[in-house]
Amino acid sequence: MAKETFEEALKELEEVVKQLEDQSVGLEEALKLFDRGMKLAKRCRTQLEGVERRVEQLLAEADAGEQPPTAPFAPEEG
């Protein structure tokens, strides 16, 4: 799953920022780091927002690997 790569991408992103903070890095290299960082940040955001909001109730169980039947769920008020 993409879940594992989120952590990796985020760690690399933070590493890139750290490298960019190093003033001895030249402009050319900085530009590359910036590019890489932006890509990583975008990937992180995509994953962070990758799930569509929904609240469902399980109606019955299904075999492993199959999606079980569900229905939208809203708790009763009170």
């Binding site: 989120f6 992103l13 933070e14 920022v17 903070e21 932006m38 909001r53 399980l58």
Partner: protein, 482 residues
């Protein structure tokens, strides 16, 4: 009288009948010892106190209903009937009910299960799994009605990108533990959810009991995805809490842990993103500053040339008449130097312009990649200003240079000759004559005019009194054009 002879079994039966009639059900208090579970599931043990021992038997059907475990040393109150076990002829208690003494039955069961699972290592810190980086698909095991599910969903709704799959279960009453354990097992299977929340609102120990059942504890321990428990209030600790990977104090707290994790990840991304933009922004500022410095250098270069020219002028204004020609000659020698200077400046200008254009392109490229309009605007303005200044200064520098060259030209020997002065040398020599006394009558001379030269024969000299500038050598400035 003939004594009555009993058959053994008959006597035992009679004794049992008497015992039953005399004692019926008895309540006996003592301490358990030598507890054994037979293959049949029946429990056998001794009930002891300081003064005596009684053998006890408890049939499996009743013993299995006990929530706690019969263990040696446990102080108990037994409800039982007395009987003689015919096969061995020993007196024993047939136990119907066991109540622990000094401690509640549930509390005892809780402590017993806790001790057992702890001994198995189920609560060990190293068994706890970290929450996933992105707990986005939440399995929720709880009752579909009640405060807990509402509390959890309310908190979870704070994060927009999150999917909840509720497996509705009963959270109290007979069989609740089975439903809960089954739901945990089901949701935990391959790739349905990232994390399982097992929650229930507050209640009595009796109400929360399902979460103290071994079955639930084992389901949590075996769950492939991390489990967060949130049962009861802050003060309530259930076995489920001990086994869970993360124990939340309440259902709300359980949901908070999930949302806060996501929010923390969001913050990390934001912070890194800000860091990226900030750092590249600083770089752009530095590039801009470098461009300005370059522009400033271009500004000072022609000024230095101009200063040099002024210095020369000042010098020319203060030389003695006798040195005028020397100065003129010296200045003349400097003309080609100024030309080289101009060439150098042009070459420099071309080179700088190229370097500048390169840097500017780079800057534009960076700007193009930079999404923050604030940075873009700042840098664009700064670069435009730098470019404008640079371009504005190029023609000015050239003008100053040209003015300077005109000055030098004005001082050249040709111009001097044009103004009517002349240079006289001995014929065949190139050093100008400066002292009349050095010329003897009959010497052949050559006088250079603005146009052509005159050859002549010296008649003699007239001493030094007739010097052109004899009266006011120091006061009279040398003639020159501005």
């Amino acid at each position: 009288m003939t004594p009555r002879v009993w058959a053994v079994g008959e006597l035992v039966r009679e004794v049992n009948a008497t015992l039953s009639g005399a004692f019926g059900e008895v309540w006996v208090q003592g301490e358990l010892s030598g507890v054994k579970v037979a293959g049949s599931g029946h429990r056998y043990f001794q009930l002891k106190d300081a003064d005596g021992t009684l053998s006890c038997a408890m049939w499996a059907a009743r013993a299995d209903r006990l929530r706690f475990k019969l263990v040696d040393g446990l102080a108990v109150l037994l409800r039982a009937t007395l009987e003689v076990y015919a096969q061995r002829g020993s007196l024993q208690l047939i136990v119907v009910e066991v109540t622990p003494q000094g401690v509640g039955e549930l509390q005892l069961a809780f402590e017993q299960l806790k001790a057992k699972l702890q001994a198995e290592g189920l609560f060990a810190a190293e068994r706890k799994r970290p929450l996933p980086a992105l707990p986005q698909r939440i399995g929720l095991v709880t009752s579909p009605s009640g405060a807990a599910v509402r509390d959890v969903l309310k908190v979870l709704s704070r994060w927009e990108h999150l999917a909840v799959l509720l497996d509705p279960v009963r959270v109290q009453g007979k069989g609740a533990e089975g439903e809960i354990a089954r739901a945990i097992r089901y949701l935990g299977r391959s790739d349905l959810v990232d994390v399982v929340l097992v929650v229930r609102g507050g209640g009595s120990l009796e109400d929360l009991w399902a979460f103290n059942e071994e079955m639930v504890a084992r389901a949590i321990a075996a769950c492939p995805v991390p489990v967060i428990s949130g049962v009861g209030h802050e003060v309530d600790f259930t076995i489920a809490d001990f086994v869970a990977d993360v124990r939340a104090a309440t259902p709300t707290q359980a949901a908070e842990i999930v949302v806060q994790r996501l929010e923390a990840q969001q913050r990390r991304v934001d912070t890194a993103d800000d860091g990226l933009r900030g750092e590249i922004g600083l770089r752009l500022e530095r590039v801009r500053a470098r461009l300005e410095r370059a522009a400033a250098q271009r500004r000072t270069f022609p000024l230095r040339v101009e200063r040099e020219g002024l210095r020369l002028k000042a010098l020319a204004a203060h030389v003695s008449g006798r040195r005028l020609r020397q100065l003129v000659a010296g200045a003349a020698q400097r003309v080609p130097t100024a030309q080289r200077l101009r060439q150098a400046l042009r070459a420099l200008a071309a080179g700088r312009r190229q370097a500048f254009a390169g840097a500017f392109d780079r800057l534009k490229d960076l700007l193009h990649r930079l999404e923050t309009p604030r940075f873009r605007r700042r840098v664009e303005i700064a670069s435009a200003v730098a470019v404008e200044r640079l371009q504005a200064r190029l023609p000015r520098a050239r003008l100053m240079l040209e003015a300077r060259e005109r000055t030098l030209e004005a001082l050249s020997p040709r111009r001097v000759l044009e103004r009517g002065y002349s240079i006289t040398t001995r014929e065949g020599e190139s050093a100008p004559l400066r002292d009349a006394a050095a010329v003897a009558a009959g010497e052949r001379l050559r006088t250079q005019l603005a146009l052509g030269s005159v050859r002549s024969l010296a008649l003699g000299h007239e001493g030094r009194q007739g010097s052109l500038f004899a009266e006011s050598d120091e006061e009279r400035p040398g003639r020159r054009d501005g």
